[in-house]
C-alpha cells in the first residue's frame, strides 16, 4: 500500500520524461493526474489509518541487499502521516501552479514527480540506509529545478550552494547512521530505537551532534541557514513551495524521528542548548525578515523563524510540545505554500517584488484585490492569529514547551509578535496605499491561478477551526514518544539526586 506512494510518482516521472511525442499540455495533464491519483490514495490511507496505534502501520518489508544491511522496509506512524499528506497535496499544487508556458515541460514535471517520490520514500523509510538513499535522491532533481527554472540573476550560484550544503548534510547523516549501526552492533540498518541503548553517553552525543548538524542544514537552523535565502528567492514559486513546504520538513522529521527517537538520553542532555538555538533561530528569522525589502526574501526568513519553533518544541519533548511540533510542520507547509504561491502571482502580474515599488494592490478595480485578500489571510495565519491553523500549532508548541524551557518559550512568544510586525509591514506596503497611475495596468488574475490558493486557504481555515482532525492523527504517537523522553529524563534526574 505504501509502496505505491513512492512508485507511482517514480514511474510517472519515467513516463513523463521518456514517453515519445508527448506535448507540453499532455505532459502537464499526465503529471497532474498522477499527482491527483496520489492524493486520492493518500486520503484512502488516512481513512484506513488506525489513530489509536502508536506504532508503525501498513508496514512493508522486502529484504534487499543483505550484505549492506539495506532492507526495503516501509511503515507509517502518527509522526509521518501528516507529512505524507502534506507532500501529496503540495506536489499537486506545485504541478498545478506551474505556468503552462514553461520551457522544457517534460523534464520539469518528471523532476517534480521524482522529488515527490523521494520525499515520500524518506518519510516512509524504516531503514536508515534506505532513508539516506531517498534523502540523497532529492539532491540532483532539486539542483536542476533551481538551476534551470530559477530566477534570472543568481540561480546557478543558489543552486550550487544548495547542492553543496545538502550534500554535506547527507554525508553527516550517513556517517552518523554508520556509526549507530556498527557501534550498536546491529545486524542491519533497520530503524530500531534500541540500537543505541548500549552506547556510552559520549558516543551518543557525538552521533547526535552529527545528526543535528546534518538535519540542521536542511531545516535550517540559524548558523547553518545561509543557503536558504538564496535558494528560496532564486527558485521559481512552485519550486519554492516544494523546497520550503516539504523539503524543510524532511529535516525536522529526521531530527525528531532519528535524533529524538534513537538518542533519548543524549537528547535530554542537549535539549537546553537546542531550545536556545530554536529561540535564537526564531528571533533571527523574524528580525532579518523585518529588514528585507523583497517580499520573497521576507517569506524565506519567516520560514527560518517558524522552523525555530519546531526545534524548541522538539527540545522540550513533552507529549504536548511534540504534538505541537508535528502540527507546526504541517501548518507551516500549508502557510508557506499559500504565501509563496501568492507572492508568485504578485510577481508575475506586477513584475516586481520590491516593497518600495509595490503599492495599493488591494484596490478593487485595477489592483489584485482577491490575491492580496488571500495574502492578508496567509500573513495572519503565519503570524499566529486565532482561528487559523498557525495559531493552533504555535499555541501547542508554546504551551507544551513552557514547563520545560520557560525563557526560550517566552522569546518565541515575542518572536510571534515580531512575525506580526513584518507581515504588517509587508501587507501595508503591498496591499494598502495608492496605485501608481503610470504603471498600474496589471493583467487579470484568472480563476485557474487562484485555485491552489483557495484550496490552501480553505484548509488553513478549516483546520484552524476544527484542529482535532489533524491532532488525532498524531496524538497517540507523539504521546508515546514524549513518554519515553519523560521517563529518560526522570531516570537521569533520579540518578543525579
Amino acid at each position: 500500500m505504501l509502496s505505491s506512494l513512492i512508485w507511482v510518482p517514480f514511474l510517472g516521472a519515467a513516463i513523463v520524461g521518456f514517453l515519445p511525442n508527448l506535448s507540453a499540455n499532455r505532459a502537464r495533464l499526465l503529471a497532474l493526474s498522477i499527482a491527483s491519483g496520489v492524493i486520492v490514495w493518500t486520503l484512502f490511507l488516512l481513512t484506513q489509518f488506525n489513530i489509536s496505534n502508536a506504532g508503525f502501520q501498513f508496514s512493508e518489508f522486502i529484504p534487499w541487499i543483505d550484505t549492506l544491511g539495506l532492507n526495503y522496509s516501509l511503515g507509517v506512524d502518527g509522526l509521518s502521516v501528516p507529512l505524507l499528506a502534506l507532500n501529496s497535496l503540495l506536489t499537486w499544487i506545485v504541478i498545478y501552479s506551474t505556468s503552462e508556458q514553461i520551457t522544457r515541460p517534460r523534464l520539469y514535471y518528471s523532476l517534480i514527480l521524482l522529488v515527490s517520490a523521494g520525499i515520500a520514500g524518506a518519510f516512509l523509510s524504516q531503514n536508515l540506509m534506505l532513508f539516506v538513499l531517498f534523502y540523497e535522491l532529492e539532491l540532483i532533481p532539486l539542483y536542476l529545478l533551481i538551476a534551470i527554472w530559477g530566477g534570472t540573476q543568481k540561480r546557478g550560484y543558489a543552486a550550487m550552494k544548495f547542492l553543496i550544503y545538502t550534500a554535506v548534510s547527507g554525508i553527516l547523516i550517513l556517517a552518523a547512521f554508520l556509526g549507530v549501526t556498527w557501534l550498536g552492533n546491529a545486524p542491519n540498518f533497520d530503524y530500531n530505537p534500541l540500537v543505541t541503548q548500549g552506547l556510552s553517553l559520549n558516543t551518543q552525543l557525538i552521533l547526535l551532534t552529527m545528526l543535528l548538524v546534518g538535519f540542521g542544514i536542511k531545516i535550517p537552523l540559524v548558523p547553518l541557514h545561509t543557503w536558504l535565502p538564496d535558494a528560496y528567492v532564486e527558485a521559481s514559486p512552485p519550486i519554492a513551495i516544494l523546497l520550503g513546504g516539504v523539503l524543510a520538513k524532511l529535516g525536522t522529521y529526521g531530527l525528531v524521528r532519528f535524533g529524538l527517537g534513537m538518542f533519548p538520553e543524549a537528547w535530554v542532555t542537549v535539549a537546553p542548548g537546542l531550545a536556545i538555538i530554536g529561540a535564537f533561530s526564531a528571533a533571527y528569522g523574524a528580525l532579518s525578515a523585518i529588514a528585507q525589502k523583497d517580499i520573497k526574501r521576507m517569506v524565506a526568513y519567516s520560514s527560518i523563524g517558524h522552523m525555530g519553533y519546531i526545534l524548541l518544541a522538539a527540545a522540550a519533548a513533552t507529549p504536548l510540545s511534540l504534538l505541537g511540533a508535528v502540527l507546526q510542520m504541517f501548518s507551516h507547509g500549508l502557510i508557506l505554500a499559500i504565501l509563496f504561491h501568492l507572492v508568485g502571482i504578485v510577481e508575475t502580474k506586477v513584475g516586481t517584488r520590491d516593497l518600495d515599488v509595490l503599492n495599493g494592490l488591494l484596490s478593487p478595480q485595477r489592483g489584485l484585490p482577491f490575491t492580496t485578500g488571500l495574502l492578508v489571510l496567509g500573513g495572519m495565519a503565519s503570524a499566529g492569529i486565532p482561528g487559523l491553523v498557525g495559531f493552533i500549532a504555535e499555541f501547542l508548541v508554546l504551551q507544551g514547551s513552557f514547563s520545560a524551557f520557560p525563557i526560550p518559550t517566552l522569546v518565541c512568544v515575542l518572536c510571534s509578535g515580531l512575525t506580526a510586525v513584518y507581515f504588517v509591514i509587508l501587507l501595508n506596503r503591498t496591499c494598502f496605499g495608492k496605485l501608481d497611475n503610470t504603471t498600474a495596468y496589471y493583467p487579470k488574475v484568472q480563476w485557474v491561478e487562484r485555485t491552489p490558493a483557495l484550496v490552501l486557504a480553505a484548509l488553513i481555515f478549516f483546520l484552524g477551526l476544527q484542529p482535532t482532525w489533524l491532532v488525532r492523527l498524531s496524538e497517540t504517537t507523539t504521546t508515546a514518544m514524549g513518554a519515553t523522553i519523560t521517563t529518560t529524563s526522570n531516570v537521569q534526574v533520579a540518578a543525579k539526586n
Binding site: I65, L139, N185
Partner: protein
C-alpha cells in the same frame, strides 16, 4: 616424472580463457594480413566474440577447486577469475567504442585491436600470477602494449608526447618494481613463488625486516604507478589527455583493475609479516589520492583531464577497501571495480562520441548539448552522477559498500575523508551536467551550434551506440538490482584461500579492529 604427473602439475586447463584470447589475437592479425584494410569490418567482432567466449570460459573456472597450475606459477582462484573477467569485459567494451574512433583517424584497426588484446592478456595473466617472474612478465606485457597504444596516433604530437612520458615513467617504475622483486628473491633464499617467499621469510633465523620493508616500498612503487595513486600519478593527466580516448578508457579500467589484482595478491601473499606497514603506506596513498584527485579535478577545463583526475580519486576510494583488509573490504573493492567499469567506460564512450561529432573535448564546448543530442546528454549525466555517488545509481551502492566495510573495521578517518571528498567530487561532476543540461539554447557553444545531424548508420557507430545504451542501463540499474553482483563479489573473496589465511583477514569482530595498533586509526583518524 611421468607425463601424467607433469600434466597434472601443469594443470593447463586453468588458462583456457587466456588461450582463447591468444587465438583471437592471432585470428585478428592473420585476417588483417590476408584481407587487408577491408578486414576492419570483421576483426572487431572477432575480437569481441573471442573476449566474450573467454568470459564464458572463466565462468566454468569458477567452480574449479584445483586452482594452482604451472608448477605454482599461476593461480586461478575465484579472485583471479573475477579480475580476469573485469579486464576481459573492459577490453570488449573498449573495442566496441574504439571502432569508429580509430577508423576515423585513418590508422589500422586490426593492429590496434591486436595491441589492445595483448594488453588484456597481460592484465589477465597478472591477475592470477603467483610467482615473481610471471608477475613481471605479465606486467611488462601489459605495460609495453599500453605504451604502444598511447602513441598510436603517431601524427599527433600530443599522442607522441604522452607515449614518451608514459614510457619513461613506466619503464623506470618497472625497474624499481624489478629491484623489489629481486630483493624478495634474495631475501627468501631463492624462492620465486609468493607463498614460498612468505614461508621462507617467516622461518628465517636472522631479522629480515629492513630488507623486507625496502622490497615492499619498491613493489608498491610499481603497483601505485599502475593504479595511479598519488604521488605516482603524474603521468595520468598528461597521458589521458594525449592518448586516443579508447586507450584512456582501457587504461582507466582494465589496466587499473590489473593493478589492484596485483596489489591484493602480492601484498597479502608475499608480505604477511609486515601487514601493518603496507596498510600504512596504502593509507597514505589513499588519503593523498582522494584529496589531490578530487581537489585538482575542480580546476580542469578539458574533459579527458577531468576524468584523469577523477580516476586518480576513484583509485583512492578503491584503496580504502584494500586497506580495510577484511573480507568485506576486498569484496567491496571487487564490487566497486565492477560498477566502475560501466560508469567510467560509459563516460568515455560519451567523450568519444562528442569528440567524433565536434572534434573537441573541452568542457565548455558541451554547453547546451541537451537540445542537439539528448541520448549523449543522458548517458554522460548518469555516468558522471554515478561516479559522484548519487543514489540510486550504481556508484552510490559501490561507495556505500566501501565506506560500510571500512567503518566496520574501524577506519573512521578514511571513511570521513572519503565522504568529504565525494562531496567535492559532486561539484566537478555536476559542473559538466550543468554545462549540458542547464544552459539555455542561447548559451550554446560554437561546436554545439554546428552539431552535425545524428546518424547512427555510419560504420562503427552502432557499436558505440550499443556501448552507450549498455552502460546507461547497467549504471542505472546495477545498484538497485545489485544482489547478484554483491553475491559475486563476496563469494569471489570467501572462496579465495589466500585471503582466508592472511592474518588480518576476517576481522569481523570489533574486538580486533578496535585495537589501537591498527594503522587505519592512527593515520586516517
Amino acid at each position: 616424472m611421468s607425463f601424467a604427473e607433469l600434466a597434472a602439475q601443469l594443470n593447463a586447463g586453468t588458462i583456457l580463457p587466456e588461450g582463447i584470447v591468444i587465438v583471437t589475437l592471432l585470428a585478428v592479425l592473420v585476417v588483417d594480413l590476408i584481407v587487408g584494410r577491408t578486414s576492419s569490418r570483421v576483426t572487431p567482432y572477432i575480437a569481441i566474440a573471442g573476449l566474450l567466449s573467454a568470459i564464458v570460459a572463466l565462468y566454468y573456472q569458477w567452480d574449479n577447486t584445483n586452482t594452482v597450475s604451472f608448477l605454482g606459477g599461476f593461480n586461478s582462484d575465484a579472485l583471479s577469475v573475477v579480475f580476469r573477467g573485469i579486464i576481459a569485459l573492459s577490453c570488449a567494451v573498449t573495442i566496441l567504442m574504439s571502432i569508429r574512433y580509430i577508423e576515423q583517424s585513418g590508422t589500422s584497426l586490426a593492429e590496434f585491436i591486436g595491441i589492445m588484446i595483448s594488453a588484456t592478456l597481460g592484465g589477465m595473466f597478472l591477475s592470477g600470477a603467483n610467482e615473481l617472474v610471471m608477475i613481471f612478465v605479465s606486467l611488462e606485457t601489459l605495460s609495453i602494449s599500453s605504451y604502444l597504444m598511447t602513441g598510436y596516433m603517431k601524427r599527433d604530437p600530443r599522442s607522441n608526447e604522452a607515449a614518451l612520458k608514459y614510457l619513461l615513467i613506466g619503464a623506470s617504475s618497472s625497474a624499481i618494481f624489478l629491484y623489489g622483486l629481486s630483493l624478495l628473491y634474495g631475501l627468501s633464499g631463492g624462492e620465486t613463488e609468493l607463498s614460498a617467499i612468505a614461508t621462507a621469510m617467516a622461518n628465517a633465523s636472522t631479522d629480515l625486516s629492513f630488507g623486507l620493508v625496502i622490497a615492499l616500498v619498491f613493489a608498491i612503487a610499481g603497483i601505485a604507478f599502475k593504479i595511479s595513486a598519488v604521488p605516482f600519478h603524474q603521468w595520468t593527466p598528461d597521458v589521458y589527455e594525449g592518448s586516443p580516448t579508447p586507450v584512456v578508457a582501457f587504461l582507466s579500467v582494465g589496466s587499473k583493475a590489473a593493478g589492484f589484482a596485483l596489489a591484493i595478491r602480492l601484498m597479502v601473499t608475499a608480505f604477511p609479516l609486515i601487514t601493518e606497514q603496507w596498510h600504512f603506506v596504502f593509507t597514505a596513498l589513499a588519503v593523498l589520492s582522494m584529496v589531490l584527485g578530487n581537489v585538482v579535478a575542480l580546476t580542469q577545463t578539458s574533459m579527458k583531464r577531468l576524468l584523469a583526475y577523477s580516476s586518480i580519486a576513484q583509485a583512492g576510494f578503491v584503496m580504502i577497501g584494500l586497506i580495510t583488509g577484511t573480507e568485506a573490504g576486498y569484496s567491496s573493492m571487487v564490487f566497486y571495480l565492477l560498477v566502475y567499469l560501466f560508469m567510467n567506460l560509459g563516460g568515455f564512450a560519451c567523450v568519444i562520441l562528442f569528440s567524433l561529432r565536434t572534434g573537441t573535448d573541452q568542457i565548455s564546448e558541451y554547453s547546451g548539448l541537451y537540445q542537439k543530442d539528448p541520448l549523449l546528454t543522458l548517458v554522460l549525466s548518469i555516468c558522471l552522477l554515478s561516479l559522484g555517488g548519487i543514489p540510486p545509481l550504481a556508484g552510490f551502492f559501490g561507495k556505500i559498500y566501501l565506506f560500510w566495510a571500512a567503518w566496520k573495521s574501524g577506519a573512521y578517518g578514511l571513511v570521513l575523508l572519503g565522504l568529504v571528498t565525494s562531496v567535492v567530487s559532486i561539484y566537478y561532476y555536476i559542473r559538466v551536467v550543468r554545462m549540458m543540461v542547464v544552459k539555455e539554447p542561447q548559451e550554446m557553444s560554437e561546436s554545439v551550434k554546428n552539431y552535425p545531424e545524428i546518424r547512427w548508420n555510419l560504420p562503427g557507430m552502432r557499436p558505440l551506440q550499443v556501448t552507450l545504451v549498455l552502460s546507461l542501463i547497467v549504471t542505472s540499474v546495477a545498484g538497485i538490482l545489485s544482489n547478484p553482483l554483491f553475491t559475486l563479489a563476496n563469494s569471489s573473496v570467501t572462496r579465495t584461500t589466500m585471503l582466508q589465511g592472511a592474518p588480518v583477514v576476517s576481522t569481523q569482530t570489533p574486538a580486533i579492529s578496535h585495537q589501537p595498533s591498527t594503522v587505519n586509526i592512527q593515520v586516517g583518524g
